[in-house]
């Protein structure tokens, strides 16, 4: 079996006494799209942070493109091709939306001059942010902020995109747009890890679904199988999803 694009091997993370991740093995192949679900506090965001490099695991390793990146800082990992959108948006408040995205394009993707601008223009278009491109980020509403998270991550030209609940609070039509955008990305070969509680949106994109609970992966497989899994229903869904 070929080495996956990005993986965590026996990763554990503790905050003081609290074990948030326990021996998590998680792997995503190149071009794969994986959904992650799980109850609140299961450790999904923490896993993403460990993959992206903003948190160091207490044990275990993170591998990316057949290389151990556990000790690399977040900025190095980003430049290598791991991009991440935060669950709770972290805009650069004092800058415009365009400049927020530009940071990703110039530093994450290493583009310069017109090439960087071109990337920004494309990404802003894809994420429907062109209208607000010249607004200061602090004036954005929540959904614009979430889109900007996605746009910044996209601008870094990633080979794997780590998305954390970017679909919440969308109207059906907006959700459909988002699905189309992510599908397009996936189609262009970007691997995707997407945490989302709105399962019906998620399953329109991903081929594989992972469910976490209490710091462990309790189910991993085709979305339809995982959603039928009794433990997943118990811990997460509460009822069957059609």
């Amino acid at each position: 079996m070929p080495e996956p694009l990005i993986s965590s091997v026996k990763v554990s993370k503790r905050f003081g006494e609290l074990a948030v991740l326990q021996d998590v093995d998680f792997a995503v192949g190149a071009g794969e799209a994986v959904g992650v679900v799980g109850p609140n506090g299961a450790g999904k965001t923490t896993l993403l942070s460990v993959l992206a490099g903003t948190l160091r695991p207490n044990e275990g390793t993170v591998r990316f493109q057949a290389e151990d990146v556990t000790r690399l800082r977040a900025d190095r990992r980003c430049r290598k091709g791991i991009a991440r959108a935060y669950q709770i948006p972290r805009p650069f408040d004092g800058m415009t939306v365009l400049e927020n995205v530009l940071v990703g394009a110039t530093h994450g993707a290493g583009l310069r001059g017109q090439a960087a601008y071109q990337r920004c223009i494309e990404v802003l278009g894809e994420c429907a942010l062109t209208e607000v491109a010249n607004r200061r980020a602090e004036s954005l509403g929540l959904l614009h902020r979430k889109r900007m998270e996605l746009a910044r991550a996209l601008a870094t030209g990633p080979s794997v995109l780590l998305l954390d609940e970017i679909g919440g609070g969308l109207t059906d039509a907006e959700a459909a747009e988002l699905v189309a955008t992510i599908r397009g990305l996936h189609g262009s070969g970007v691997a995707i890890v997407w945490i989302e509680h709105i399962v019906h949106v998620l399953v329109q994109v991903v081929q594989r679904l992972v469910c976490m609970n209490a710091g462990q992966i309790i189910a991993d497989g085709a979305p339809s199988d995982v959603l039928q899994d009794a433990s997943v229903i118990d811990a997460y869904l509460g009822r069957r999803v059609a």
Partner: protein, 238 residues
Amino acid sequence: MSALLSVEELDVHHGLLHAVRAVSFEVTEGERVALVGANGAGKTTLLRAIAGAQRASGGRVVLDGEVITDLPTHQRVRTGIALVPEGRRLFPDLTVEENLLVAGRRRRDGPWNVDGVLEIFPMLTKLRARRASTLSGGEQQATAIGRALMTNPRLLLLDEVSLGLAPLAVDAVYECLGSVLGHAATVLLVEQDLARALAVADRVICLLEGRIVLDLPAAEVSREQVTEAYFGIRGRPA
């Protein structure tokens, strides 16, 4: 039934941006109203203006016959308005319990207390002494709702209620809104999950670019009607 809240010709600006435009509607005591609308329609702005967190540039907000347009935010809490803000906005260095207690200090008389909140959000019980900044996204949302309940509101404003909550937790919240809260309080909530919104609400108001384009009893509207209203296909004022 008399109107608990009435919003009259309310205008709100963000600088040059006219975010809420001459919005008028009433909410009667005990009613549950869902506020829907596309991204940037002005839902958050409207709720914040009602709660006092955003200054209105025109119009009036009346609560139970009393004009509160010029009342500062903290005093509106005492008149019985509580807002669960978009993005949770917990006090990061206070524990979950302290977050609840802060809100409880100036509460009106009523049934809610820390234990009551923990009962509807059992996941918070073991997090009671944890600092809010270390909570997961969903745990924060639950705490934020609990915190608003602690003030024993007559009018509960919920911005993006289910955002970030796992399905089980969403069920729990709606169950609570449906039963416990049902007779005690009036609710105005922003919810994008239309099925949920229509199921829980008595009425649906749809905003488009700061204006109300649809205001109907939930039983009388169809999904399609609302979806159309989102994009102004129908009912857009000339």
